[in-house]
Symmetry: C2
Subunit: 230 residues, 2 copies
Amino acid sequence: MPKKQKAVVLLSGGLDSTTCLAMAKNLGFDLYALSFNYGQRHVSELAAAQRAARDFGARDHLILDLGLDKIGGSALTDQMEVPKASREKSDDIPITYVPARNTIFLSYALAKAETLGSSDIFIGVNAIDYSGYPDCRPEYIAAFEKMANLATKAGVQGRTIVKIRTPLLHMTKARIIQKGIELGVDFSKTHSCYDPSDDGLACGECDSCALRKQGFAEAGVADPTRYGHG
Amino acid sequence: MPKKQKAVVLLSGGLDSTTCLAMAKNLGFDLYALSFNYGQRHVSELAAAQRAARDFGARDHLILDLGLDKIGGSALTDQMEVPKASREKSDDIPITYVPARNTIFLSYALAKAETLGSSDIFIGVNAIDYSGYPDCRPEYIAAFEKMANLATKAGVQGRTIVKIRTPLLHMTKARIIQKGIELGVDFSKTHSCYDPSDDGLACGECDSCALRKQGFAEAGVADPTRYGHG
């Protein structure tokens, strides 16, 4: 049997990244999960990430402390109020956007991949049912991949071509949920809420909760999320 | 008088980044210096960065702790031996290369710039007298800039075009030294060595010390560096 390829998987512990982890496993990769403590208000999502890494047999799960809270500029890391989901479509990027977050996450993943000799980085970004963040769009991911292949020793030496793998990019939230269930994801253990209660229960009202609820409804699957308020 | 533009300046405390800081000041920018504690073996360069930020009147100097030592893969963050400078030209990338370092540094600078409403990020990379790191090449910087303009809220809204400014890119080390002196850099306070002694003195023998020594010789300027051994 050929040696398994290694993949670095960015894992927040949310619905999308956990499904992405399951898909990477299903493709036969050896999983190296990577999560970040970046001053987000609630670390309950890190506990969810740890469970997911364990459940899917990740070979390694590295949790790095970042200093994003020192940079500020987002309702997810600052003491701003997280808004409730708007039913109206808007071109505005919400205040829950964390400046350059996916760029920083992918940069660390690139460092980890190069150190491992891996050429596959998985990130569960989605450009359909998403909050409108610029760093979830296909053109952004393509530009990051191009940059990554100029940034690294392996890239320069032509040994490895880094691939930023985004299996969820064009899937609806309902389809992601169906795929996750098919691959054994227990969504009761995943965490999506931007504004959970002190004991980690989802608010049911923020943009992320609204997308999640709608996804379960459209998938025709009972929503296992425990909502704490709202 | 028009309001000064803000610039984020990556500042390691070395000869190049300190000159880059002086050049940004000379261009009339309000300086926001950004340094990293990334598990490098010696933090004497952070002390040099703090002095430089103070000397050039930076409005702010943020030092962020990164977790690069947890990722490994470099003689600068691991317990590998730092090699002495080779006199032979080589296409190999040295083991002092830190995987994806500049990508991670620039990603944080991008986050900081977006938060500040700044469109100018300065980095003192150089593609002439340098150690051959892939993430110091012009094509890498151009790819990062392109990605950065797809990554951010400001970029998407067309409010700001991020510019990665690399004033040293095509300068020889000798020219950088001349420029620094012209702008008031005190090079006795800058730190370049990859392998300093416990009390922070330069080794005089690593690749970085060799480039620095040669630069002073070619510039016809007395080298103010205190070498501890070698």
